[in-house]
């Protein structure tokens, strides 16, 4: 029975394919002299509009202390902590929204910056839909403060996010063609202690942390 269905599906596909080819042959054979015909496609509908977006750069886990130069320059604080709840999305002004994450059990990591007295940090990201940015997990985060408001933002987006799983550190990159599917950084799975040493060395090499984002 299965074979019969397969055979029937195969013959339907063959007929369809032959019909398309026949149509192609017919139109070709009736063409006349003149400029080459350009096969124009219909204008895409809104659901077909491509996203464009930035070129996809290689997604590689930082392999040496010097790889942290740009990230540390954009950060004022590096911490380890936990996010255990979904973020709050709130409106900040007309046409703008912000997503607020609460980082719990915060501790300073590799000596970059100074952790505020509170054990909870508020991390604000612009936009109402950055769901994949910080799902509940244990993290090492490179943060930039927001004008002395006590709020922080992740430095360099996904580049400043490292998840910690069973003592191993993973990195990932934004995926502009499919935001829900992160691109895991090549070389992920570095031992937490080794990662901390890399960041500490990077901090010594580039001691100038990013100043406050106050205008």
């Amino acid at each position: 029975m299965i074979k019969l269905v397969k055979a029937r599906a195969g013959s339907i596909l063959s007929v369809t394919f032959l019909a398309l080819l026949t149509a192609s042959c017919t139109s070709s054979s009736t063409s006349t002299a003149g400029p080459p015909a350009v096969r124009r496609s219909p204008v895409p509908t809104s659901s077909q509009v491509a996203a464009a977006g930035p070129p996809v750069e290689p997604c590689v886990f930082p392999g040496s202390s010097s790889d942290f130069g740009g990230l540390l320059a954009d950060s004022s604080l590096v911490v380890r902590g936990t996010i255990d709840a979904a973020p709050d999305v709130r409106q900040t002004q007309a046409g703008a929204s912000s997503t607020e994450f609460r980082l719990q059990n915060v501790s300073q990591f590799a000596g970059q910056g100074s952790v505020p007295p509170s054990s909870t940090l508020l991390i604000d990201e612009s936009g109402g839909v950055p769901v994949p940015l910080l799902p509940p997990s244990d993290y090492v985060l490179f943060l930039a403060d927001v004008g002395g408001t006590g709020h922080y933002t992740v430095a360099d987006g996904m580049a400043g996010v490292f998840t910690v799983n069973s003592g191993k550190v993973d990195g990932s990159c934004p995926n502009y063609s499919d935001p829900q599917a992160r691109r895991e950084a090549v070389g992920s799975g570095v031992a937490l202690q080794a990662f901390e040493e890399l960041v500490r060395r990077g901090t010594r090499q580039a001691p100038g942390a990013k100043p406050s984002q106050a205008p």
Binding site: A50, A51, G53, P54, V146, P174
Partner: protein
């Protein structure tokens, strides 16, 4: 006549995989252009270039064509502006601006002025920061703000990133643009420029590399025509290797 039909039939069989399916790539885009490699462009608060679109491009599928400038911002979000062609509701050129949040979600897309032609100066600039830390970026064409192009981020500059000037064919979904899609003529990006801080003066980017995202190698290329001047289009030697433009 019979022989002609047989030849056409065999040709159709050979081309069928390209015409009806097309090679599939994960990224669904073919991009060619320049990526600034000038470290002094870091922390820029604006990027600018003059884009000339000669057209017409030839499309054999539902691909869209974009000529744009843009940059990843310091918070990891991304903002771009330029020419878009064959996008929804318009079969010719229009301007477009798009923004993506740090996780890669598109949070802004705006396009207008169907039928736009010629040479225009496109720029994207940091504008202001509200008390809660949300920063507004906005795009300009020939010095006029593009309506609806405001993009909100947590970035007052581009951080340790550098800007791009890119010509791109892209298509929604997982099917790659048809290999026969071409961009005849030359896209001009005379001088990729950046500005720093609140200083309104733009200066030329001092170095750039070929930026391409293609597989397989497409029938078009990017090259430099004098310092800072980028050209992109079909009919030029395609090496598919990255290298310095200047």
């Amino acid at each position: 006549m019979l022989r002609r039909r047989v030849v056409t039939f065999l040709t159709a069989i050979a081309l069928a995989p390209l015409l009806f399916a097309g090679p599939a790539y994960a990224d669904s885009v073919r991009q060619i252009g320049a990526h600034s490699s000038d470290a002094s462009d870091h922390y820029a608060t604006g990027a600018r270039s003059t884009i000339t679109e000669p057209g017409p491009i030839q499309l054999y599928d539902a691909a869209q064509f974009f000529s744009w400038i843009g940059s990843v911002l310091s918070d990891g979000s991304f903002y771009q502006v330029g020419y878009g062609r064959h996008v929804a509701g318009c079969a010719s050129n229009q301007w477009f601006a798009q923004g993506f949040d740090p996780a890669g979600n598109r949070t802004l897309v705006v396009q207008a002025q169907c039928g736009l032609t010629g040479t225009h100066v496109f720029s994207m600039e940091y504008r202001q920061t509200s008390p809660d830390g949300t920063s507004e970026w906005i795009s300009y064409m020939d010095g006029s703000a593009l309506p609806g192009s405001s993009f909100f981020a947590r970035a007052q500059n581009i951080g340790s990133q550098t800007p791009y000037a890119v010509s791109e064919l892209s298509i929604a979904g997982s099917t790659s643009p048809n290999l026969s899609d071409t961009m005849p003529g030359i896209r001009y990006y005379p001088a990729l420029q950046v500005k720093l801080g609140t200083n309104p003066t733009y200066y030329n980017s001092l170095s750039a590399t070929v930026q391409r995202q293609t597989a397989p190698c497409p029938p078009y290329n990017a090259f430099a025509d004098g310092t800072n001047n980028i050209r992109a289009g079909s009919g030029y030697a395609t090496t598919c290797q990255n290298g310095s433009l200047w």
